[in-house]
Structure formats: C-alpha cells, structure tokens
C-alpha cells in the first residue's frame, strides 16, 4: 500500500516550509523514527523523522522547494516491490475544515442586544440627538414617525421632513435686486400708511355685467384704472423723491407699476399713461405684461420707471396688507381681497362686500392729508365703477 508523507506543521503559526535537506533518497528503506528530512520554517530549521516504516519511492518536493503545510512531499510504499499508486488524497487533501454540526445549530452571531425595556404610552421615544435637532428646527416631535428601535425617533427621521439641514444659499440676481432695493426703501424712506375700506358690491356687479358683455376685466384692472384717474386729480401723490439730489420728483405722466409674482420673486411691469387708456386696454396690457414677466421676457423699459405702484394679494383672500414703497416713487397701494362682511346701510346691518386698500406714503413727499384725499377719491371711483368706463383723453 502506498502512503503519503506531507509537510508537517512544525509550529503553531507555520503555513509553509522549505525542504532544507532530504536525508533519504528514492529507493531507500526507512524505519520508523529515522531522520527523514530537515525543514526550514520562518523560525528555524527543524529535523523531521519518519512516522511509519516503508520504502521511499518518490520525492515530490525537492530540496530548496517550498510546500504548504499538509502538502504531499513524498510517496512511500510498505513493500519494496509494489507499484506506486497515488491515493485519492493527493488530489483532494483533507484540510481538516470543520464540518457543520449534526445537531441543528444557530449560526454563530454576536449575542443579540437584549430588547430594550418596554416603554409605556406616555413617554416619547426620541434620541437625545433627534430631540436637540427638533428643538433647533422647531419641529413638533409628536408628529414624526420614528424608525429607530422600538419606534424611537432618531435624527434621520427629521431629515425626511426636508427641513433637516440649515443651509446658506447664494442669492439669485433677481433676489439680490429685490433684497437691495427693498432693504434700502424700508430703511431709508419714512413710510406711513393710510387705510380705506371700500364697499365693493357695485364693483362686483360691474365686473359681472362686463363679463356678460364679453369683456373680462380683473378687480386689479379696475383698481389700476381707478388709481390712474385718482392720480390725475391728486398729482401730489403721483410723485417721487430723488434721494441723491434730495429733490422731489413730480412725474409728468401717470405710469402704473403693477406687481407681478414670479416663482423666483416679483417684478413690476408698467402700464404707461394708464389714465388715458380704456379699462379693456389696461386689462389686455396687464395680462400681456404678466405673461411676458413669467417668461422672463420683459425688457428693462417695460419695468424700469413708473410713477405709482399697485400690489394686489386679494386673489389669496388676504384681508389687507402694507407694501414697501417702490423707490423713487412716493406711494404704493396694497390691495386686499373682497370679503363678505356685515356693513351698515341706512342704519341697518346688512351683508356686504368690502375691499381694503392700504396706501404706503413717503412722508418726505406726501403728507397724510394728501394721501387721505387721494384714497377718498379712489374710494368714490371704485364704489361708482361707471367712472371707469369714461374715456379721458
């Protein structure tokens, strides 16, 4: 029978060895215990003796060559004259790898963390970090669903609200302009505000009648026309202030800047000589300008200038608001929505519709009485909308 001699593991850390010297040659008879070879390991050169008696028939790894631990290095036969047959083990040497246990066993894992103490209802499960972040961002923690262990709110759950990161973003050019102009206006112009609520029933009726006639105008168009007419009567309000020269500007024409909201901010295209234009024309122009504004196609001359600005948040149902003056103009009119409200008519409380107008004035140019008078004229025009159809040349 043939048996194999393999490279011995001569130290616990040995993985390969080099054959330093064979002390027997092919054909030799070897007794159990005879010195067979010397092996060089990383640590030393060590002698290795034959375990079993036999005849060395074939040296598989020569002097100076390296072999891995358990790699066959020589073939022996028990008898001198038997043929050498390589047993299967040379092709598939046993590695001694552990076979799986025959009993069912769970895979070795780290001891699973013990389940946390069960939390009863009243205590919010939130990590210290998430709690801190929620506080900083003003987020209501009771409305967040926690994805941590046991339903704990953790910091990533705040990120999903989309408000996780506080960032500093550079201003777009439009935003920069708005920011600069309005900061300047708000901080340098002495604003005061005059407010007037008007009865809007007639205006509502007026608009409806026009619509039945195939003419569609918006409430804002009416306000534009009415403002233009009122400015004709009160040219003091159609003015401005030149801050560098410290001079009062008396505008030569009534050019109404109409505030248009854009996704990135707002812009004020101008209806030039609005007092001389028919209501319908104003309506068409404003619509055209608005579309152009939203397509970023306004030319500078179309929004630079103007003598009076109108800003309208009525379409959002806003009751009233105050606007910041569009310098170098002296005034800006803020228009609220038409609201159903009880009004007093002939001494009785009846349901009515009202619209609140707020005029911001630059006190360097326009005094309270001038602003008040203007607003009363404007009120009269809007409460008697037939005026808006009268052509003025």
């Amino acid at each position: 029978m043939t048996f194999i001699v393999t490279m011995p593991k001569l130290s616990p850390t040995m993985e390969t060895g080099t054959i330093a010297k064979w002390h027997k040659k092919e054909g030799d008879q070897v007794a159990a215990g005879d010195l067979l070879l010397e092996v060089s390991t990383d640590k030393a050169t060590v002698e290795h003796n034959a375990l079993d008696p036999g005849y060395l028939r074939k040296i598989l790894v020569q002097e100076g060559q390296e072999a891995a631990v358990n790699q066959p290095i020589a073939l022996f036969t028990e008898k001198v004259d038997e043929p050498v047959s390589v047993p299967e083990e040379t092709a598939h040497p046993q590695t001694g790898a552990p076979k799986p246990s025959q009993e069912a066993s769970a895979p070795a894992a780290a001891t699973p963390p013990p389940p946390p103490v069960e939390v009863k209802g009243e205590r919010l499960l939130i990590s210290p970090l998430a709690r801190k972040l929620a506080k900083e961002q003003g987020i209501n923690t009771t409305q967040i669903k926690g994805t941590g262990p046991g339903g704990r709110i953790v910091s990533r759950d705040l990120a999903q609200k989309g408000e996780m990161k506080t960032q500093e973003i550079a201003l777009t050019p439009m935003r920069k302009v708005i920011s600069q102009r309005l900061q300047q206006a708000k901080s340098t112009i002495p604003h005061f505000y005059v407010e007037q609520t008007i009865q809007a029933d007639a205006l509502v009726d007026f608009r409806e009648q026009l619509s039945h006639l195939g003419t569609k105008v918006s409430y804002n168009d009416c306000v534009v026309k009415a403002s233009a007419l009122a400015l004709r009567e009160h040219p003091q309000v159609n003015s401005g202030f030149n801050a560098s020269n410290q001079t009062l500007i008396q505008f030569g024409s009534i050019d109404i800047s109409v505030a248009v909201s854009l996704p990135e901010g707002l812009i004020t295209p101008i209806v030039f000589q609005a007092d001389k234009k028919e209501l319908q024309q104003i309506s068409t122009e404003v619509r055209t300008l608005a579309v152009k504004a939203k397509e970023n196609k306004l030319e500078p001359r179309e929004f630079q200038g103007g003598s009076f600005t109108i800003s309208n948040l009525g379409m959002f149902g806003i009751t009233r608001f105050s606007a910041i003056i569009n310098a170098p103009q002296a005034c800006i009119l803020a228009v609220g929505g038409i609201i159903d409200t009880p009004i007093i008519k002939n001494g009785a409380i009846v349901p009515g519709k009202v619209m609140t107008l707020t005029l911001s004035c630059d006190h360097r140019v326009v005094d309270g009485v001038a602003g008040a008078k203007f607003l009363k004229t404007l009120q009269n025009l809007l409460e008697n909308p037939a005026h808006l159809l009268v052509t003025h040349v």
């Binding site: 393999t6 616990p12 375990l51 631990v69 358990n70 552990p98 070795a108």
Partner: protein, 337 residues
Amino acid sequence: MARSIFPVDRAHILQQLGKTDVLEALKKMLLIRNFEIRAEAAYLQGKIGGFFHSYIGQEAIQTAAVMAMGMNNWWITSYRCHALALLLGATPDSIMAEFFGRVTGNAKGRGGSMHLYTERLLGGFGIVGGQVPIAIGAAFSLKYQGIRDQAAICFLGDGAVPQGAFHESMNLAALWSLPCLTVIENNEWGMGTAVAKAVSVPRLAEDKAPGYGMEGFTLDGMDFLHCYGAFLTFSKNMQANSRPILVEALTQRFKGHSVSDPGLYRTKESVKEHMGRDPILLLKQELEQVGWLDEETFTALDTQARETALAALKFAEESPWPDLATLERDVFAPENL
C-alpha cells in the same frame, strides 16, 4: 551527593505480578506510546491546535503507579496528562476527539490536550505547579472523610519544583499529615532549562523532603518493575501512617517539551543514548529473558496498539463539532438552593 535509588526486589515483583499482569503493563505502555505518536502526527497536520506535550519516554512511571495503587485514589498531573488519562479509564477515542476539539471529546471540546479528566483524574493543569495545592486538597478530603485506603497522587515536572505552589503544598501536606504522594518526574529539562540551572539542590526529593519534615525517595523512572515495587511500598506506608511522601522519578522525555520545541538545548547523541533505556524496550527485554514474550507477540501487541490509536484518529476525525449554541452553557454548575 549521589542519589540512592529506592531498593526494590525486581525479580520478586516480576513473579508477584505474573505474566498476565506484566504483559498488561506492557500493553498499556505500548498504547500510550502509539497514541502519543499518532496524535503528534495529527498535530503536525494541523488537526490538533494549541499545545501538545507528549509523555513518550516516561511511560513506566505512571503505568506503574496506577497499577500498583489502583484507580481508586485521587490522581492529578500537569498538562502532560494524556498517559494518565488513558491509564485512568478515558478511552483513546474520547481523548483524541478532545484533541480535535469535537463534542465527543473527554471534556466536550472545552479543555483540549492540557485538560483531560476522568472520574478519578482531577486534570490536566496548564499552570506549572498549579496542580500541587489541588492534590493536597484531595488528600485533605480523604483524611476529612476518614477514608484511609486511598491517597492523592500528584505528578509534576522538575520545572515545577521552584514554584511557590510546590513549597506551600509540601509544607501544608507535612504539617497536616495529608496522605499525598508527590511524584516529581525529573526528565532533566524544564522546557529548555536544565534542572541544575533551576533548582538549587541536586536531589529533588532526597534533598528537599527533609526540609519539609517528610520522607523523600528517588526512583529509576525508566524501569517499570522498579517503579511498581516502589509505589506498592509507598502506598502501604501511606495507608499505615497517613504521612505524605515526596518522590523523584528519574526519567527522560524523548521529544521536546511540546511539539513546538525543536529541542536544540540537548544533543541528538544524548537523546539517542537515553532512548537506549526506553522503558518499553527494558520491559520487553525483561519479559523475553523469562520467556514470557517473543518478538512476534511484541509486534502483534505493538500493532494492536497502533490500530487502536489509528481508530481513535478516525473517530475523532468523524466526530461532530460542538454546537455553537451551547457555547455559554454550563459555565456554572446547577444550583439546588
């Protein structure tokens, strides 16, 4: 000062034992020898991990002790414990499986080659000398329980003698008159340190025992019959007077301290010379001289021992590994509070 080898009438012992028993002793030694050789070969194939301390060359001592005194005592030794385990009833299969770390092993794969146990074998100990206080504790138990026909037998190497544990144990054993037989198996080397460079006196038992107030004797550890006769006498003495005894058994290990030890501290010639007094060879010659053994029978016995060892290898190879889910079980003994 030269040692005085304990006087034993070997011829008388031989006759007293008879052919069957002496052959039995030889069989045991052959089993130990073949088992250690095959296990060591498996270690060199990477199938056994950790440390492996072979008893090859020292077989006569423990074989004689167990045969002379009987299993029914408390036994304890160092990490060089494979032979004592075999002698005290651990099967070759279970020991080899323990070497291979399998669940069928002597200690369920939890101890390894340094920690083997049987009903009467308290271990297998890894810390040099750590077993000696345990041994006197076992002797204490016997005395406490009034058991007079048993003793504690402790084996240790020459390298353990300098340990404080040895000193404290010998003092306590003599002071409290504990029936402990302490056998120093002096194979002349504590790993790579010659005993003369480790112990300040030359005769480990004869010089040291009087210092503790106990008797000390020297044995020829390669001679089975001699050891057997000596252990018989010691056993009787201890049963009579319950005094501890310190013994130095002079022996040789034919291998290094453990498998990793290339043994460069001694010459090959000296090892070869020692192997000329191989205890198995000596007993074989003894038996041949009285006509109780021939070469053919010896070869048959040797082959049988080799077959047992190879079968143990196969058993170990095919045994299942411990179930990983049981890792943390049985760190503590069950309570009955």
